[in-house]
Protein backbone atom coordinates (compact mmCIF):
# COMPACT_ATOMS: atom_id res chain seq x y z
CA UNK A 1 0.00 0.00 0.00
CA UNK A 2 2.88 2.36 -0.85
CA UNK A 3 4.01 2.61 2.74
CA UNK A 4 0.56 3.49 3.94
CA UNK A 5 0.49 0.31 5.98
CA UNK A 6 2.47 1.85 8.82
CA UNK A 7 1.71 5.57 8.55
CA UNK A 8 -0.88 6.97 10.88
CA UNK A 9 -3.93 8.14 8.94
CA UNK A 10 -6.04 11.16 9.81
CA UNK A 11 -9.28 12.62 8.59
CA UNK A 12 -8.59 16.02 7.05
CA UNK A 13 -10.01 18.93 8.95
CA UNK A 14 -12.66 21.18 7.49
CA UNK A 15 -14.75 18.41 5.97
CA UNK A 16 -18.50 18.20 6.48
CA UNK A 17 -20.10 14.85 7.21
CA UNK A 18 -23.60 13.56 7.82
CA UNK A 19 -24.53 10.14 9.12
CA UNK A 20 -27.35 8.08 7.58
CA UNK A 21 -28.75 4.61 8.03
CA UNK A 22 -27.00 3.59 4.81
CA UNK A 23 -23.66 5.13 5.63
CA UNK A 24 -21.92 8.46 5.64
CA UNK A 25 -21.83 11.38 3.22
CA UNK A 26 -18.71 13.53 3.34
CA UNK A 27 -18.43 16.87 1.60
CA UNK A 28 -15.43 19.14 1.13
CA UNK A 29 -16.76 22.68 0.73
CA UNK A 30 -13.40 23.88 -0.59
CA UNK A 31 -12.67 21.31 -3.28
CA UNK A 32 -16.42 20.79 -3.84
CA UNK A 33 -16.10 17.02 -3.69
CA UNK A 34 -18.63 14.73 -2.11
CA UNK A 35 -18.60 11.01 -1.43
CA UNK A 36 -21.04 8.47 -0.04
CA UNK A 37 -19.51 5.74 2.12
CA UNK A 38 -21.37 2.55 2.92
CA UNK A 39 -21.34 1.51 6.58
CA UNK A 40 -18.14 -0.52 6.28
CA UNK A 41 -16.29 2.27 4.46
CA UNK A 42 -17.66 4.71 7.03
CA UNK A 43 -16.20 2.56 9.80
CA UNK A 44 -12.80 2.62 8.07
CA UNK A 45 -13.06 6.41 7.77
CA UNK A 46 -13.94 6.66 11.43
CA UNK A 47 -10.81 4.73 12.37
CA UNK A 48 -8.59 7.30 10.66
CA UNK A 49 -8.11 9.15 13.91
CA UNK A 50 -4.40 9.87 13.70
CA UNK A 51 -3.50 6.91 15.91
CA UNK A 52 -4.07 4.03 13.54
CA UNK A 53 -2.30 2.88 10.41
CA UNK A 54 -3.89 1.10 7.48
CA UNK A 55 -2.64 -2.22 8.79
CA UNK A 56 -4.11 -1.46 12.21
CA UNK A 57 -7.47 -0.90 10.52
CA UNK A 58 -7.12 -4.12 8.57
CA UNK A 59 -6.53 -6.07 11.76
CA UNK A 60 -9.54 -4.51 13.52
CA UNK A 61 -11.85 -5.38 10.65
CA UNK A 62 -10.39 -8.84 10.22
CA UNK A 63 -11.07 -9.53 13.89
CA UNK A 64 -14.66 -8.35 13.49
CA UNK A 65 -15.17 -10.51 10.41
CA UNK A 66 -13.12 -13.66 11.01
CA UNK A 67 -14.85 -15.54 8.21
CA UNK A 68 -13.42 -13.17 5.60
CA UNK A 69 -10.00 -13.91 4.13
CA UNK A 70 -7.37 -11.55 5.56
CA UNK A 71 -6.05 -10.61 2.12
CA UNK A 72 -9.58 -9.73 1.01
CA UNK A 73 -9.94 -7.47 4.03
CA UNK A 74 -6.58 -5.89 3.27
CA UNK A 75 -7.60 -5.28 -0.35
CA UNK A 76 -10.95 -3.80 0.63
CA UNK A 77 -9.37 -1.47 3.18
CA UNK A 78 -6.76 -0.46 0.63
CA UNK A 79 -9.45 0.38 -1.91
CA UNK A 80 -11.41 2.53 0.54
CA UNK A 81 -8.39 4.36 1.86
CA UNK A 82 -7.00 4.85 -1.61
CA UNK A 83 -10.21 6.49 -2.69
CA UNK A 84 -10.35 8.72 0.36
CA UNK A 85 -6.71 9.75 -0.06
CA UNK A 86 -7.29 10.53 -3.74
CA UNK A 87 -9.98 12.99 -2.74
CA UNK A 88 -7.80 14.44 -0.02
CA UNK A 89 -10.20 13.34 2.68
CA UNK A 90 -7.56 11.26 4.47
CA UNK A 91 -3.97 12.29 5.02
CA UNK A 92 -0.94 10.47 6.30
Amino acid sequence: MDGMETRFLSRREGLLSEDFEDGLVICDPVSEQVVHLNPMAAAIWDMCDGAASAEDIVLVIAEAFPAVDLEQVRQDVRNVLGGLRAKGFVIG
Binding site: L16, E18, F20, E21, V25, C27, P29, V34, H36
Partner: protein, 285 residues
Protein backbone atom coordinates in the same frame (compact mmCIF):
# COMPACT_ATOMS: atom_id res chain seq x y z
CA UNK B 1 -59.98 34.96 0.83
CA UNK B 2 -57.53 33.97 -1.87
CA UNK B 3 -54.80 36.52 -2.38
CA UNK B 4 -53.82 36.55 -6.03
CA UNK B 5 -50.29 37.09 -7.16
CA UNK B 6 -49.58 40.26 -9.13
CA UNK B 7 -50.33 39.94 -12.82
CA UNK B 8 -47.42 39.62 -15.22
CA UNK B 9 -47.49 42.27 -17.93
CA UNK B 10 -46.27 41.60 -21.44
CA UNK B 11 -47.05 45.13 -22.68
CA UNK B 12 -43.45 46.25 -22.74
CA UNK B 13 -40.03 45.12 -21.65
CA UNK B 14 -39.92 47.38 -18.60
CA UNK B 15 -43.50 46.50 -17.64
CA UNK B 16 -42.61 42.84 -17.85
CA UNK B 17 -39.42 43.05 -15.78
CA UNK B 18 -41.12 45.06 -13.05
CA UNK B 19 -44.28 42.95 -12.89
CA UNK B 20 -42.43 39.64 -13.14
CA UNK B 21 -40.07 40.56 -10.32
CA UNK B 22 -43.04 41.61 -8.19
CA UNK B 23 -44.85 38.39 -9.04
CA UNK B 24 -41.93 36.19 -7.94
CA UNK B 25 -41.41 38.26 -4.82
CA UNK B 26 -45.06 37.92 -3.80
CA UNK B 27 -44.63 34.22 -3.02
CA UNK B 28 -42.06 34.93 -0.32
CA UNK B 29 -43.68 37.19 2.29
CA UNK B 30 -40.31 37.91 3.84
CA UNK B 31 -39.34 39.74 0.69
CA UNK B 32 -42.60 41.14 -0.60
CA UNK B 33 -41.95 44.59 0.83
CA UNK B 34 -38.42 44.91 -0.43
CA UNK B 35 -37.30 46.56 -3.62
CA UNK B 36 -36.96 44.08 -6.43
CA UNK B 37 -33.62 43.77 -8.20
CA UNK B 38 -34.84 44.62 -11.68
CA UNK B 39 -32.70 43.82 -14.65
CA UNK B 40 -33.35 46.57 -17.18
CA UNK B 41 -32.52 46.42 -20.87
CA UNK B 42 -32.13 49.90 -22.27
CA UNK B 43 -33.15 50.97 -25.77
CA UNK B 44 -35.49 48.12 -26.57
CA UNK B 45 -38.81 49.91 -26.32
CA UNK B 46 -40.80 50.14 -29.52
CA UNK B 47 -39.63 46.82 -30.94
CA UNK B 48 -41.85 45.04 -33.44
CA UNK B 49 -44.15 42.41 -31.93
CA UNK B 50 -41.98 39.41 -32.71
CA UNK B 51 -38.83 41.04 -31.35
CA UNK B 52 -40.67 42.05 -28.21
CA UNK B 53 -41.71 38.47 -27.53
CA UNK B 54 -38.14 37.25 -27.88
CA UNK B 55 -36.81 40.12 -25.81
CA UNK B 56 -39.26 39.35 -23.02
CA UNK B 57 -38.34 35.67 -23.13
CA UNK B 58 -34.68 36.58 -22.72
CA UNK B 59 -35.47 39.15 -20.02
CA UNK B 60 -37.36 36.47 -18.10
CA UNK B 61 -34.15 34.51 -17.68
CA UNK B 62 -32.31 37.61 -16.49
CA UNK B 63 -34.96 38.45 -13.89
CA UNK B 64 -35.07 34.85 -12.71
CA UNK B 65 -31.29 34.62 -12.45
CA UNK B 66 -31.24 37.80 -10.35
CA UNK B 67 -33.99 36.35 -8.16
CA UNK B 68 -32.04 33.12 -7.69
CA UNK B 69 -28.97 35.08 -6.63
CA UNK B 70 -31.03 36.91 -4.05
CA UNK B 71 -32.74 33.75 -2.83
CA UNK B 72 -29.43 31.97 -2.36
CA UNK B 73 -28.51 34.43 0.36
CA UNK B 74 -31.17 33.04 2.68
CA UNK B 75 -32.47 29.82 1.14
CA UNK B 76 -31.05 26.48 0.14
CA UNK B 77 -31.68 26.07 -3.57
CA UNK B 78 -32.17 22.63 -5.08
CA UNK B 79 -32.07 22.24 -8.84
CA UNK B 80 -35.35 20.55 -9.48
CA UNK B 81 -39.09 20.80 -9.94
CA UNK B 82 -41.60 20.69 -7.12
CA UNK B 83 -45.32 19.99 -7.21
CA UNK B 84 -48.02 19.21 -4.67
CA UNK B 85 -50.93 16.80 -5.11
CA UNK B 86 -54.55 17.64 -4.42
CA UNK B 87 -54.20 15.60 -1.23
CA UNK B 88 -51.24 17.71 -0.10
CA UNK B 89 -48.34 15.39 -0.85
CA UNK B 90 -45.32 17.42 -1.93
CA UNK B 91 -43.09 15.82 -4.54
CA UNK B 92 -39.64 17.25 -5.21
CA UNK B 93 -38.10 16.12 -8.50
CA UNK B 94 -34.37 16.86 -8.49
CA UNK B 95 -32.48 16.34 -11.69
CA UNK B 96 -30.06 17.71 -14.22
CA UNK B 97 -31.16 19.39 -17.41
CA UNK B 98 -32.59 16.79 -19.75
CA UNK B 99 -33.62 14.32 -17.08
CA UNK B 100 -37.30 14.87 -17.78
CA UNK B 101 -38.29 16.63 -14.58
CA UNK B 102 -40.04 19.53 -16.35
CA UNK B 103 -42.18 17.33 -18.57
CA UNK B 104 -43.02 15.08 -15.63
CA UNK B 105 -43.96 17.95 -13.33
CA UNK B 106 -46.10 19.64 -16.01
CA UNK B 107 -47.82 16.36 -16.82
CA UNK B 108 -48.69 16.03 -13.16
CA UNK B 109 -49.96 19.63 -13.07
CA UNK B 110 -52.16 18.65 -16.00
CA UNK B 111 -53.55 15.92 -13.74
CA UNK B 112 -54.41 18.25 -10.89
CA UNK B 113 -51.13 18.81 -9.04
CA UNK B 114 -50.21 22.37 -8.14
CA UNK B 115 -47.05 23.89 -9.53
CA UNK B 116 -44.54 25.17 -7.00
CA UNK B 117 -41.47 25.49 -9.17
CA UNK B 118 -39.82 24.10 -12.27
CA UNK B 119 -36.11 24.69 -12.04
CA UNK B 120 -35.23 25.93 -8.57
CA UNK B 121 -36.71 24.74 -5.28
CA UNK B 122 -36.17 27.12 -2.39
CA UNK B 123 -35.91 25.60 1.09
CA UNK B 124 -35.88 27.66 4.26
CA UNK B 125 -32.82 26.40 6.19
CA UNK B 126 -34.46 27.15 9.54
CA UNK B 127 -37.72 25.25 8.97
CA UNK B 128 -37.06 22.92 6.05
CA UNK B 129 -40.17 24.31 4.34
CA UNK B 130 -40.37 24.81 0.59
CA UNK B 131 -41.38 28.21 -0.75
CA UNK B 132 -42.79 28.44 -4.28
CA UNK B 133 -40.79 29.95 -7.11
CA UNK B 134 -43.47 29.57 -9.83
CA UNK B 135 -41.37 31.10 -12.57
CA UNK B 136 -41.79 30.40 -16.26
CA UNK B 137 -40.70 27.01 -17.45
CA UNK B 138 -38.06 26.76 -20.12
CA UNK B 139 -39.20 24.15 -22.56
CA UNK B 140 -36.72 22.60 -24.97
CA UNK B 141 -36.92 19.97 -27.64
CA UNK B 142 -39.97 17.99 -28.68
CA UNK B 143 -42.93 17.92 -26.34
CA UNK B 144 -44.44 14.54 -25.44
CA UNK B 145 -47.86 13.97 -26.97
CA UNK B 146 -49.29 13.43 -23.50
CA UNK B 147 -48.48 17.01 -22.51
CA UNK B 148 -51.25 19.50 -23.31
CA UNK B 149 -49.56 22.83 -22.79
CA UNK B 150 -52.69 24.86 -23.49
CA UNK B 151 -54.29 23.38 -20.39
CA UNK B 152 -51.34 24.22 -18.20
CA UNK B 153 -49.94 27.46 -19.66
CA UNK B 154 -51.45 30.88 -20.22
CA UNK B 155 -48.70 32.06 -22.55
CA UNK B 156 -45.79 30.59 -24.48
CA UNK B 157 -43.08 32.86 -25.84
CA UNK B 158 -40.55 32.02 -28.50
CA UNK B 159 -36.93 32.88 -27.92
CA UNK B 160 -34.98 34.89 -30.50
CA UNK B 161 -33.37 32.86 -33.24
CA UNK B 162 -29.97 33.68 -31.78
CA UNK B 163 -30.84 31.56 -28.73
CA UNK B 164 -30.23 28.48 -30.90
CA UNK B 165 -32.08 25.94 -28.80
CA UNK B 166 -34.44 23.82 -30.94
CA UNK B 167 -38.13 24.28 -30.23
CA UNK B 168 -37.43 26.34 -27.12
CA UNK B 169 -40.28 28.17 -25.41
CA UNK B 170 -40.65 30.32 -22.33
CA UNK B 171 -43.94 29.18 -20.83
CA UNK B 172 -45.98 30.70 -18.00
CA UNK B 173 -48.14 28.40 -15.87
CA UNK B 174 -51.80 29.34 -15.39
CA UNK B 175 -52.58 30.88 -12.03
CA UNK B 176 -55.15 28.26 -11.11
CA UNK B 177 -52.31 25.71 -11.00
CA UNK B 178 -50.19 27.80 -8.63
CA UNK B 179 -50.55 28.13 -4.82
CA UNK B 180 -51.67 31.40 -3.33
CA UNK B 181 -48.85 33.70 -2.24
CA UNK B 182 -47.68 33.08 1.28
CA UNK B 183 -48.12 29.31 1.30
CA UNK B 184 -45.12 27.15 2.14
CA UNK B 185 -44.86 23.38 2.10
CA UNK B 186 -43.13 20.52 3.83
CA UNK B 187 -41.41 18.11 1.42
CA UNK B 188 -43.02 14.69 1.24
CA UNK B 189 -41.09 12.72 -1.34
CA UNK B 190 -37.98 12.95 -3.50
CA UNK B 191 -38.21 11.51 -6.98
CA UNK B 192 -35.12 11.15 -9.13
CA UNK B 193 -36.12 10.56 -12.74
CA UNK B 194 -33.72 8.28 -14.53
CA UNK B 195 -33.12 8.76 -18.22
CA UNK B 196 -33.10 5.60 -20.30
CA UNK B 197 -29.60 5.10 -21.64
CA UNK B 198 -28.01 6.79 -18.65
CA UNK B 199 -29.49 4.27 -16.25
CA UNK B 200 -30.62 0.83 -17.27
CA UNK B 201 -33.16 -1.20 -15.30
CA UNK B 202 -30.41 -3.33 -13.76
CA UNK B 203 -28.94 -0.17 -12.28
CA UNK B 204 -31.98 0.36 -10.09
CA UNK B 205 -30.91 -2.58 -7.96
CA UNK B 206 -32.50 -5.61 -6.40
CA UNK B 207 -35.28 -3.63 -4.69
CA UNK B 208 -36.67 -2.24 -7.92
CA UNK B 209 -40.35 -2.66 -8.69
CA UNK B 210 -41.90 -2.81 -12.12
CA UNK B 211 -45.28 -2.04 -13.61
CA UNK B 212 -47.02 -3.74 -16.47
CA UNK B 213 -46.36 -0.68 -18.60
CA UNK B 214 -42.61 -0.92 -18.28
CA UNK B 215 -41.97 1.61 -15.54
CA UNK B 216 -39.44 0.70 -12.91
CA UNK B 217 -38.78 2.39 -9.61
CA UNK B 218 -36.69 1.69 -6.58
CA UNK B 219 -36.30 3.28 -3.17
CA UNK B 220 -33.15 5.30 -2.76
CA UNK B 221 -31.65 5.16 0.75
CA UNK B 222 -31.31 8.54 2.45
CA UNK B 223 -27.52 8.64 2.32
CA UNK B 224 -27.52 8.03 -1.41
CA UNK B 225 -30.28 10.61 -1.85
CA UNK B 226 -28.25 13.14 0.12
CA UNK B 227 -25.20 12.34 -1.97
CA UNK B 228 -27.12 12.86 -5.23
CA UNK B 229 -28.60 16.14 -4.05
CA UNK B 230 -25.24 17.43 -2.82
CA UNK B 231 -23.36 16.32 -5.92
CA UNK B 232 -25.75 18.14 -8.23
CA UNK B 233 -25.92 21.13 -5.93
CA UNK B 234 -22.15 21.48 -6.16
CA UNK B 235 -22.21 20.91 -9.90
CA UNK B 236 -24.63 23.83 -10.18
CA UNK B 237 -22.05 26.11 -8.62
CA UNK B 238 -23.40 26.29 -5.08
CA UNK B 239 -21.35 28.73 -3.03
CA UNK B 240 -23.15 28.16 0.27
CA UNK B 241 -22.65 24.42 0.65
CA UNK B 242 -21.36 24.79 4.20
CA UNK B 243 -24.88 25.96 5.16
CA UNK B 244 -26.80 23.90 2.65
CA UNK B 245 -25.23 20.49 3.32
CA UNK B 246 -27.09 20.13 6.60
CA UNK B 247 -30.38 21.27 5.00
CA UNK B 248 -29.95 18.82 2.14
CA UNK B 249 -29.13 16.01 4.54
CA UNK B 250 -32.19 16.71 6.69
CA UNK B 251 -34.33 16.76 3.55
CA UNK B 252 -33.00 13.33 2.60
CA UNK B 253 -33.76 12.02 6.08
CA UNK B 254 -37.34 13.30 6.18
CA UNK B 255 -38.56 12.61 2.65
CA UNK B 256 -38.49 9.08 1.21
CA UNK B 257 -36.63 9.00 -2.10
CA UNK B 258 -37.12 6.96 -5.23
CA UNK B 259 -35.47 6.54 -8.59
CA UNK B 260 -37.91 6.23 -11.45
CA UNK B 261 -37.29 4.80 -14.89
CA UNK B 262 -40.36 5.08 -17.08
CA UNK B 263 -41.05 4.35 -20.71
CA UNK B 264 -43.49 7.22 -21.14
CA UNK B 265 -45.00 10.18 -19.37
CA UNK B 266 -48.38 8.61 -18.67
CA UNK B 267 -46.81 5.65 -16.94
CA UNK B 268 -44.48 7.89 -14.96
CA UNK B 269 -47.45 9.92 -13.73
CA UNK B 270 -49.23 6.78 -12.59
CA UNK B 271 -46.21 5.63 -10.63
CA UNK B 272 -45.78 9.04 -9.03
CA UNK B 273 -49.43 9.04 -8.04
CA UNK B 274 -49.09 5.64 -6.41
CA UNK B 275 -45.93 6.56 -4.56
CA UNK B 276 -47.30 9.92 -3.46
CA UNK B 277 -50.48 8.29 -2.17
CA UNK B 278 -48.34 6.50 0.36
CA UNK B 279 -47.15 9.79 1.81
CA UNK B 280 -49.31 11.32 4.54
CA UNK B 281 -50.23 14.94 3.96
CA UNK B 282 -48.21 17.01 6.43
CA UNK B 283 -49.99 18.99 9.11
CA UNK B 284 -49.64 22.73 8.79
CA UNK B 285 -49.18 22.53 5.05
Amino acid sequence: MRTEAPAISLDSLDAFTLSYAAYLRAFLPSRSGQAAPVVARAGQEGLAGQDMEGAIAMAEMDVLAAWHRELQQDFTLIHGSCIVSQEGQVVLIPGVTGSGKTCLSLALVQRGYRFLTDDCTAIDPATGRIWPVPAATHLKGERPAALDLDRVMWRLLSYPSAYQVPNARCAFVRSEHIPIPGESFLPGMLLFPAVRGAVEPEGLGARASASQDGAMWAPLPPGQAAYQLTFHNLADGNTTIARDFRVISNLARRAPAYRLLAADLETACQVVGSLAAGIPARAGQ
